[in-house]
Amino acid sequence: AEKWDMPLAYPATNFHSENAAAFAACVTEGTGGEIEIVTHPGGSLFGGADIKRAVQTGQVPIGERLLSAHANEDPIFGVDSIPFLATSFDDSVKLWSAAEGAVEEALDGQNLVLLYSVPWPPQGLYFNKEVNSGADMKGIKFRAYNAATAKLAELTGMLPVQIEAAEVSQAFATGVAESMISSGATGYDSKLWENVSHFYEVDAWLPRNSVMVNKDTWAGLSDETKKVFTDCSAKAEADGLQKAKDYTKLTLDGLASNGMKVLKPSDQLKADLALVGEAMTDEWLKAAGDKGKAIVDAFKAN
C-alpha cells in the first residue's frame, strides 16, 4: 500500500474539500487500499499558492488548485476567469469542454496530469446602493485584487482600491471599498450583509478548482489503477458540479434571509456589462493567441 498526501487550500468544510475527500475515499476503496489518498485541507500541508509547484516537482503526488491563479505562467490557465464570457453553470461546462484539451496540454508541459475540475459559485457584483446601468457604477470604489479586476474597474469607470482578501469586511465597514466582484459564497461566509446592501447575480465568471497528479507518478500506475482514478474523477466532477449549484442556492438564500437585496441585473446593466465582457475577452485573446481563439470560437459555436 502506498500513501498519497493530497494538499487542499480550502477548509475541510468547504464543498470542494468535501468533494476531494469523497474522491480520495473512492480511489482508496477502488484500489483496494493499494493507494491510500490522505487529504490535508485548509492549507495544512502546502498553502494554495504552492500546491501546483509541489505536485509538479513531486513533493506530493496529487493536489487541488485554483488554476486561474497561475494565468501569469500561461494565459490558458485563466480561461475560466474571463469576465462575462460564460455566465451560467451550463455555459461554464460548455466553456470548460471547449478548453479542457488546451488546459491539459499546458499542464502536460508542466509535468502534470489533469484529473477533474469543479467550478466555484458564479461571481456577482456587491454594491452599497442600487445599480441599474453601467452609468450608475461610475466613481464607485471597487476592490481590485488582480490585473483583471483592475481592468474591470477601468472599463466600468469605477475607482480601483487594492484590498487583501483578509481585510475585505473591514474595508466595506469603513467605506474604503463600496463594491467588489466575488461569489455569493464569499459574502455569506464573511457575513457581508452587515456592511453591504446589494448583490447582483451577474454571474460574471465561474472560476474552477482543478485536481492534478504528477505526470511521472501517473506514468508509473497500472492501467487498472488509472481506470479507478478516471472513474472516480468523473464521479467527482459530476458530484462537485451539483454541490456547487446547491451551495450557490444556499448562500444566495442566506444573503437574502439576512437582509441583503439579492437581485438579477437589469437589462441595461446586463447589456453594459456584456460590452465590458467583449473588451476583456479581446484582451485575453491578445495574450492567449490562436489557442485561445480556437477555444472561444468553439465555445461560441455551441
Partner: protein
C-alpha cells in the same frame, strides 16, 4: 497507540538539539528533517524550501520588522522621561502612589511597542531610579515592573500576536483588537494588587509627594501628548479600518521618527543603530519562523497532529480540562523557552486540537499571550528577568521571587478569560460595525 513512537522520537531529537544549545530556528529545522526522512518518501529538501520561501516572503509578516523598528526608535528617544513626568502627578495620591507609574507607564508604552522586554527597558530606565529615590519597597518596584512590562505582548501592537497570527493564518488586526480589553483588565489586577499591598504591608513607607494643583497636573500632562498621538495613529488607524496591521506599523515607524526628530534625538547614528538592531532582531524571529514552517510541514506528513487531535477528541476532555492541560504545559515549557519559540513550536500540534475542541482561534491567541507573558518572568529562562538583572544588578532568584505575585495574577487572568471570553472576542467582532 501507533503515534507514540514518532512522538517520542520527535521529542527526543528536539530536546537533544535545543538542550545542547543549537539555535532554536535550526533545531526546529533539524527535527523536521529527521521527521521527513523517517516518515515520508517525499523529497524533504525541496518541500522544505517550498514552505520556507512561502513563510519568509509573506506579506502579513512585514508588520513584524516594522513594529520592531518602531520600538528601537522609541527606545532611543526621551519618551520614558516624558511619560514619567506626565503620569506621576496623577498617580501620587492613589494608594500605592508612584508604584502605579510602573503599571500605567507599561500599559501606555505597550500601546506603541510590540515587545515586553522593550517596554520593560524603556519604562524601567526612568521609573526604577525615581521610585528608589522615594524609598518605595525594592521588591515591589522590581516585581510590578517585571509583571506589567509583559503587557507589551498583550496590548497591541504585539510581536507574539503577529507570530501567532502568521503561524495559524488569522487576521492580525483582529488579534490586536482582541488584546486590548484583557490587557486593561490585567493592568487593573496589577494596580489592585499594588493598592492592597500599600494598605497592608509594613514595608510600604515611601516619601510623600509634594502637593500639586489640578492645573499643574494638567500642565504636566502635556508631556504625554506625543505618546498619545502615536497611540491614536497606530491603534486608531487599525480600529477604524483605515490601515491594516502592517500599514499601522509603517505609520508607527514614521510617527516615531517624527517624534525623535521633534525631540532632537534623531541623528544618523541613532537612525542607523535602530535600523540595524531591528534588522537583527527580526532576522532572529524569521529564522525561528522558517524552522517552524518546515516542522509544521513535516508534522503534517507524519499525520501526528491529526492523530493527537483525534486522541484528545476521544478522551472527551471538556474545553476547560483541555485548557487547563495546555496551561500547565505552557507554564512548564515557558520555564525553558522564550515565548515566540514556544508558540511556533507547539502550534502545529496544538492548533488542530484547539480547533477540534471548538475553541475560537482569536480567543486562544490571547490565552497563549497570557501564558507566554508568564514565561517572561519564570526562571531559568525568562527575558524580563535577564533584562532586569542587567538593569538592577539583583540576583535572578530575587527578581523571580519579586515577580511571583504578578505570575499569580496572570494565572487569575487565565481564569477570568475562560469565564468571560467576550473580553477577547467582543472588540474584534464589533470593530467592523463602527459608526
Amino acid at each position: 497507540m501507533e503515534t507514540l513512537a514518532p512522538i517520542i522520537l520527535f521529542l527526543f531529537v528536539l530536546f537533544l538539539l535545543l538542550g545542547t544549545g543549537v539555535w532554536v530556528g535550526l533545531a526546529l529545522l533539524g527535527v523536521a528533517f529527521v521527521g521527513m526522512e523517517l516518515f515520508t518518501s517525499r523529497p524533504a529538501g525541496d518541500a522544505m524550501i517550498t514552505v520556507i520561501w512561502a513563510a519568509s516572503s509573506s506579506w502579513t509578516l512585514t508588520a513584524l520588522p516594522l513594529f520592531i523598528w518602531m520600538g528601537e526608535i522609541l527606545y532611543r528617544t526621551r519618551l520614558s522621561e516624558d511619560m514619567f513626568r506626565g503620569l506621576a502627578p496623577w498617580m501620587a495620591r492613589l494608594p500605592g502612589g508612584l508604584l502605579h507609574t510602573n503599571v500605567v507607564g507599561c500599559t501606555v508604552f505597550a500601546a506603541v511597542s510590540g515587545s515586553s522586554a522593550a517596554t520593560l527597558t524603556t519604562v524601567g530606565k526612568m521609573s526604577v531610579p525615581e521610585l528608589r529615590k522615594r524609598d518605595y519597597p525594592e521588591k515591589m518596584v522590581i516585581g510590578t515592573l517585571a509583571g506589567a512590562a509583559t503587557l507589551g505582548l498583550m496590548i497591541p501592537p504585539s510581536l507574539t500576536l503577529i507570530v501567532y497570527g502568521v503561524t495559524i493564518n488569522e487576521s492580525i488586526t483582529k488579534l490586536f483588537m482582541a488584546g486590548i480589553l484583557p490587557g486593561l483588565v490585567l493592568a487593573g489586577l496589577f494596580m489592585g494588587y499594588i493598592a492592597v499591598y500599600a494598605k497592608v504591608s509594613k514595608n510600604y513607607k515611601p516619601q510623600p509627594e509634594p502637593q500639586m494643583t489640578f492645573r499643574e497636573k494638567l500642565a504636566n500632562s502635556r508631556f504625554l501628548l506625543p505618546v498619545i498621538a502615536l497611540i491614536i495613529v497606530v491603534i486608531g488607524s487599525m480600529y477604524t479600518g483605515l490601515a491594516t496591521a502592517t500599514e499601522a506599523a509603517a505609520l508607527g515607524v514614521i510617527g516615531s521618527l517624527a517624534l525623535a526628530a521633534g525631540q532632537g534625538s534623531l541623528t544618523w547614528k541613532t537612525f542607523g543603530e535602530s535600523l540595524m538592531g531591528a534588522t537583527r532582531t527580526s532576522a532572529m524571529v524569521a529564522l525561528i519562523l522558517a524552522g517552524a514552517a518546515f516542522l509544521s510541514l513535516s508534522m503534517g506528513f507524519t499525520g501526528l497532529p491529526r492523530a493527537l487531535a483525534a486522541w484528545i477528541a476521544d478522551m472527551q476532555l471538556s474545553r476547560f480540562e483541555l485548557l487547563m492541560a495546555l496551561l500547565v504545559f505552557y507554564i512548564v515549557i515557558g520555564c525553558f523557552l522564550d515565548g515566540i519559540s514556544s508558540v511556533v513550536l507547539t502550534m502545529a500540534v496544538v492548533e488542530p486540537m484547539v480547533r477540534a475542541a471548538g475553541i475560537d482561534a482569536i480567543w486562544f491567541g490571547i490565552f497563549v499571550v497570557v501564558v507566554v507573558e508568564m514565561a517572561q518572568i519564570t526562571p531559568p529562562i525568562g527575558f524580563n528577568l535577564f533584562v532586569l538583572q542587567g538593569m538592577t544588578r539583583h540576583e535572578m532568584t530575587y527578581i523571580a521571587r519579586a515577580a511571583l505575585p504578578m505570575f499569580a495574577l496572570m494565572v487569575v487572568m487565565v481564569f477570568i478569560l475562560i469565564a468571560f471570553p467576550e473580553l477577547a472576542t467582543w472588540l474584534p467582532e464589533n470593530m467592523r460595525t463602527r459608526p
